[in-house]
Assembly symmetry: none
């Protein structure tokens, strides 16, 4: 987000290539988060980055490539956090909760971008969907591993899609209106859905006793 506090320029007279690249990426992140893909022009990005219009194309194939880069940079961050949870060796229930916590933390830190990628401002030419595919991949792999043993009825691919759809939607919705529901309630609900489904009433489970 900030440009001023940069270590960088080591030798060059003008700006270094990577410095310019970074500035464009940063400008893109800021602007896309604010206005979405197609309400930002390549000139806007260049101007914000403090470079000439043509310079943009020395660093990115086209506008969508930058958008893609911005989105995936963020999403890779999310995936790493989620993967990190896996590496902690928590018991399943705790892991589910930890992942929900990471998701919400991510949504909080990238409120604007989350809205653009997963949510309503989305005019993102499928990039958001690609991002979900990306997340779903890991999820699916994890599910497969876990199910190596048993579970006939939960199809890993479907489950993965269902989970990322759920996460993305909830993250976007919550990021857009954080005031409405306390963070803890969101986490609790996500956890419960993943652990016991939506047929609430956890204790007695009345829904299972059916004639």
């Amino acid at each position: 987000m900030d440009v001023s506090s940069r270590p960088e320029p080591r030798t060059a007279p003008a700006r270094s290539r990577s410095e310019t690249h970074r500035r464009l990426l940063e400008a893109g992140a800021t602007l896309f988060a604010r206005r979405g893909l197609h309400r930002v022009t390549s000139h806007d990005v260049a101007r914000t980055a403090g470079v000439a219009a043509g310079t943009f194309y020395l660093h990115f194939e086209d506008k969508e490539a930058l958008f893609r880069e911005v989105v995936f940079q963020a999403v890779r961050g999310l995936r790493e956090r989620l993967d990190g949870v896996g590496r902690r060796g928590l018991p399943p229930d705790a892991a589910v909760r930890a992942r929900a916590e990471e998701l919400l933390a991510f949504a909080e830190e990238h409120r604007e971008l989350v809205r653009v990628i997963f949510g309503r401002d989305h005019d993102a030419a499928g990039v958001g969907q690609d991002a979900l595919d990306f997340l779903a991949e890991t999820s699916e792999r994890n599910l497969r591993q876990r199910d190596a043993a048993g579970s006939r009825s939960l199809h890993p691919a479907v489950t993965a899609q269902a989970l990322v759809g759920m996460w993305a939607r909830v993250a976007a919705w919550w990021a857009a209106a954080p005031a409405g529901v306390p963070r803890e309630a969101v986490i609790e609900t996500l956890v419960r859905i993943q652990l016991s489904g939506t047929q609430s009433a956890p204790s007695e489970r009345p829904h299972r006793s059916r004639p």
Copy 2:
């Protein structure tokens, strides 16, 4: 002044207003499903509907208004189907399954449009998200009713968002590549997630004892 260069209009009304409206709506549904919002022009729609370019604007405020109309027409259809399930007075588990079936049937019948609205070709200026909000409303209302009695931990709004996110993603994903996973597996998985969560836990779980 300059009368000579005037175009000499050659045709006339002939069709009823509502007929024209319907044709535009139909043309829009076809084209948007095929190419998404911004790879369709208002001229395309008019041409496909067999009317003049200007006629479009006699019936719709602008291109997005038509898109919105097309999307909501479809989504209203889905909601009605889902609501219909509620009216059948089924036991909870059966209702969950019936809804999943309706969802998949809908995705099958509107394969292209589902992809555009909920999925990857989506550049829909937030219309898809509005559609999800629309679906989430009903869902949330239903959850509140059901929970009138108990359930402390499942927040209805969050749950509703989670569900529609899950449904939309799964529907879009499945509509885009129906070959991969058999319809029954998708339904089974959705049902299982909603009834028991994703923690499969193969052996002891009573919910697997079903005909």
Copy 3:
């Protein structure tokens, strides 16, 4: 996505910015003088200037801005000529005549444009009026200076408006049909009106006997 249908731009800069600007200005002056504001399109101007359509908007906000620029360039020229008269230190009568001469010379040199700005082809969205305001300003200032001493009854602002109205109308009328009345007669009449009013009657001046 869709790269194939992209237009493959074929040319390049080559001309200096200011050169292009000048060409557009010149093209605008020619075309507006010939056809007035709204019978000239931005494409016409670009084509005449030998640049691409979009280039127009790199140099002018919109069509009206160019028109405005063209008009004011001319009107500034007129004002300078009129101001020049003031600087010659002529006696008042001679100054009045000199100004009338400048006005007619201007009308002769910019015959077409004068008709567009002040006259009948005018569809100029108020630009002609703004031009008159601009001229009236100086006129009013001059009148105020002169009247520092005396003159109760001639309101400077009103007088200035009256004068520019008179000039503009006479210039436009004469520019449109120069054959009708010899230049000298126009000048003589303008001078006489300003010096003695319209109550001609040369010899005895009966109109001055007023209560």
Copy 4:
């Protein structure tokens, strides 16, 4: 061309032709005064008049024809008032003043329209200029009559143009900002200019005796 002298509704069940005509004229007057010629559409006029779009063209050749009609109706009114002054047989000075009074009264009564016809909102496709020609005609005729006897130096046509230019500009300017200058001051100034020219300082006229 003329509407006023029509014999009016004789039979019809629905609205009579002349009634419809009148409503259109009235709607036009209101709308044009408010927004000028090309910010009013033929649909606007029809809607305001409470008739269908097509009906407009049963009564007027095109939009400009209605505009023309509206303008000339007003200007004929002004000319009649000015002519009325001539018929009162006043002494010349008094007549000049009376005409100025009529002009200002007219400007006051038709404030909006005066601004559109003669003034800054003008985008009137030359109609305002035609209106001035119309006024100038009478003026010129009057001047010729008066000058039958003498006056070498005041060319009637030029004088007429000068006068209408002056009047129109002053009327438009004053109508646009009536607060600025009291009505009496405007009249007084117009009278003085016409009677003695702009070289103020009436009594001693020091400026004429110059070395």
